[in-house]
């Protein structure tokens, strides 16, 4: 299975750009992902579209690691 993943940062695109990528491992809450030079933590994973031809389409919400350590 290939996971086509839409990454959106908490707070919207005005603060951090989002991301899209394909990956062989399903994203999991608590994991880290790097978009550009910034590292984020996954806070929510949900299916965006039904699976098709060995592809699964997911929407993932992430939060900045730095903001967590600042708080």
């Amino acid at each position: 299975m290939v996971y086509t993943v839409s990454y959106v940062v908490v707070g919207g695109k005005k603060k951090y750009p989002s991301g899209m990528m394909n990956q062989s491992e399903r994203p999991v809450v608590g994991e880290q992902v790097k978009l550009g030079e910034n590292t984020f933590e996954i806070v929510e994973v949900k299916r965006m579209l039904p699976p098709s031809d060995d592809f699964e389409f997911l929407h993932v919400t992430v939060k900045p690691i730095d903001e967590e350590s600042d708080s």
Partner: protein, 146 residues
């Protein structure tokens, strides 16, 4: 050739193509390598290729009407960009730069792609369906990113 086919299989844009069809697509794809900050194409330039990311990430940057450029999205392995210009013949709607060193993309020239889709309508049907689904996915992504 095997490396290109491996990436094509990893990109949802090419799902549903059989081995022979994937080979035909791979035959018209060319590998390009970029380092961080390298420009792949600039906004408003003519679009004559689409790209599949084989390794690394790219940054899509959009310049607004005031001339300010801002980062819109990062795209990683298996993602496709530049396909809109192949469909509508318009200029590039954004600039794309490499976000990591050793970013590898596979470019597919528009003229060769169109010719292939016309020669093999099976490829043409699957590709046009998949491009529509890919754009649908990107619109859904944007709807979440407000």
């Amino acid at each position: 050739m095997d490396e290109i086919k491996k990436i094509l299989k990893y990109a949802s844009l090419f799902r549903g193509l059989n081995e022979t069809q994937l080979t035909r697509v791979a035959e018209i794809a060319q590998s390009e390598q970029y380092n961080v900050k390298d420009m792949i194409f600039s906004q408003d330039s003519p679009g004559d290729k689409m790209y599949i990311i084989g390794n690394g990430q790219v940054e899509v940057r959009v310049q607004d009407t005031s001339g300010q450029s801002h980062s819109a999205i990062f795209l990683g392995q298996g993602q496709v960009f530049g396909e809109m210009a192949l469909l509508d013949q318009g200029n590039r709607s954004a600039s794309v730069i490499a976000a990591q060193n050793n970013t590898v993309v596979y470019s597919i020239p528009g003229a060769a792609f169109t010719a292939l889709c016309q020669q093999d309508t099976g490829i043409g049907y699957v590709m046009m369906r998949n491009i529509a689904l890919d754009l649908s996915f990107k619109i859904r992504h944007q709807n979440y990113d407000i």
